[in-house]
Symmetry: C2
Subunit: 369 residues, 2 copies
């Protein structure tokens, strides 16, 4: 009975997501509705770019931020600058957006740079690092600590210009069908996990696989996998994980911050008038604030709902966390040894973090105060 | 000798600040330099507003953010939208900016709403609350938790439209000439302190006074006051407090977040074309990202410098913090009992915080991990 109900739930959710997604998708070239403007209109060549995204725009915080950015641009330019947001895989596969921008199959895209890990080993450092920086710390490194210059240089070789355009707080450490009390419990576990965190779990003895968001529920429900990480509680809720894997683990050690970028074909970027470059930069920087606000603001109620429905909110033990951190340091050191780019960016982040720790450790009240 | 050297240091710093400040000030109407744009220029009526600010633009994070916002607007509009930033007291006293905007003596201003406490008792809730929300939590409340609507309604009665335009992390709990080991040590202490935190210290037995930033060093050095809070380490460093009051206390219980707003005369705001409203909103929202990045990014090195010069970085004991929190709750309850506006906004913040705590307490690694 549980299984049937869970399957029915998944089907309903999938239909709903599809429906909402189709509403969110605007026909190419039509652009969002813009209020008529008496005097604020902008002149100059129209910018009408296709913007494939890596996450469904129906997913709060994870996927809806490009809609905010596109709307801010359209309104600020009286409709002259239009980014047509496309759902994942509609015109470009979710994991191949940067490459499509590089090849100018599309003008721009909104993605998580960690998906470039196969081609660009240092890319995940710009997306999410296990036991890495918190969201505000990452933005401080990006804008004030040299991160932006390093990120732009890394992607300049690819013919791509990355703009920091969104950031969210920790993804939960995952949904498990059984409890995880010790590091031993990770051995042999079949788990869906992304990025550098996946490499860490693999080394801890888990069997790590990568599945798109839409396939996870069924895999968990059938027992093809024992556990999954995916995103924030408000997103995991929409995917129904608590129905089939009731143990939800915290803290989000593998992605304390997850950054998103608007990637633009470099030649196109350099040909833009300076005012349009400034508009794109400003809208993306505003997107960072709005994205983090949603990420921080929407989770509390969802966690209460999970608890009310019988899911178990659990915290990984210090023993497990300390061992995972040790493994993380080994993985990062190996990646750095294999790639000068990785080594350069990691060194910059570690120097910044050592400096930031002097502030973080003193300035704030304890988190439970 | 110490006294003479300290005084000489203060004079040099004051001269430097004045010089840098004068450089930062642009002649009204001239506007910042803007790159020529081939196609991105905007049309429509020029917007050329005077923008008095409450903090010197030479003060990092605390005072320089309006320069970023004005520059983003000028670049995005190819120079059509110009905010002429004026230093504190140059055309409007630092504490009276909102009132000058209300009376349309100036079109807009950049300020800390806590300075309106005398006329609008609920205003400090939009600026900084002791033991209140952290910066990212405040932005979540503002954009996602109903804060913006409450703030706009509060100021609509004043004929003023507030845009959230910047935010910084904790101000340090202050600089003291002597150690503060217990709550008793606060009794009779002469201290410069602002906002609701000042009311809390007053009730704890301190003698609280308010001085502008430029007068604090001399008052400390002469012994007219025993202690002061002012701002972030990187700002306090420029004012030289460590030379005359070597005990620097943490955490920043009285201002875990300090928000800044761009306030616009309401009639002027409503007459703006929608595209210009969108440009101002987007630039301010970007300002929030950039301001927090500077606030988080610039403090670590300064704290190391203080330590190297012999200042003492101290942490208030749990006993002192718990007592100050009790008093804070009494002060907030009294203010709420006296003002329906205060009660309404405080209730919204407290409901949001109760919800947010479910996330904050689980999602993040410990601050010392």
């Amino acid at each position: 009975m549980i299984t049937l109900r869970a399957a029915a739930f998944a089907v309903v959710i999938a239909l709903l997501l599809g429906f909402i997604g189709s509403l969110a998708l605007r026909p190419p070239g039509a652009g969002p509705a813009v209020l008529a403007s008496s005097g604020g209109g902008t002149t100059g060549p129209a910018v009408n770019w296709r913007l494939p995204t890596a996450f469904g725009t129906n997913l709060p915080a994870l996927g809806d931020n490009p809609l905010y950015v596109a709307d801010a641009l359209a309104r600020s330019s009286s409709g002259r600058i239009v980014l047509d947001v496309y759902e994942p895989a509609e015109i470009v596969p979710a994991f191949e957006i940067t490459d499509a921008v590089r090849q100018r199959k599309v003008e721009a895209g909104y993605t998580w740079l960690g998906y470039d890990q196969g081609r660009i080993s240092a890319a995940p450092l710009l997306g999410a690092v296990p036991f890495g920086m918190e969201p505000w710390e990452f933005t401080a490194w990006w804008y004030e600590g040299g991160g932006r210059a390093l990120g732009e240089a890394l992607y300049r070789e690819q013919g791509v210009h990355p703009l920091l355009c969104g950031i969210i707080g920790p993804e939960t450490a995952g949904w498990f069908r059984r409890q995880v009390a010790t590091v031993e419990d990770l051995k042999g576990l079949k788990i869906r996990f992304a990025g550098l965190g996946g490499k860490v779990l693999q080394r801890a003895g888990a069997s790590v696989t990568m599945l798109p968001g839409g396939e996870i529920f069924q895999a968990l429900e059938k027992g093809a996998i024992d556990a999954t990480e995916y995103a924030l509680p408000v997103v995991d809720d929409k995917l129904g994980f608590d129905r089939v894997a009731p143990y939800n683990y915290y803290p989000g050690w593998h992605q304390p911050a997850t950054a998103f970028h608007l990637v633009v074909n470099l030649a196109l970027w350099e040909a833009l008038p300076p005012a349009d470059q400034a508009l794109l930069e400003t809208a993306c920087t505003a997107g960072v604030t709005r994205n983090l606000a949603r990420s921080e603001g929407l989770q509390g109620g969802v966690i209460a709902d999970f608890t009310a429905r019988g899911a178990r909110m659990e915290t990984l033990s210090d023993e497990v966390l300390l061992r995972l951190r040790e493994i993380t340091q080994e993985v990062l050191a190996e990646e750095a040894a294999a790639s000068p780019d990785f080594a350069r960016i990691l060194a910059s982040q570690e120097a910044f973090r050592a400096d930031y720790a002097k502030w973080k450790s003193r300035a704030y009240l304890p988190r439970d105060f």
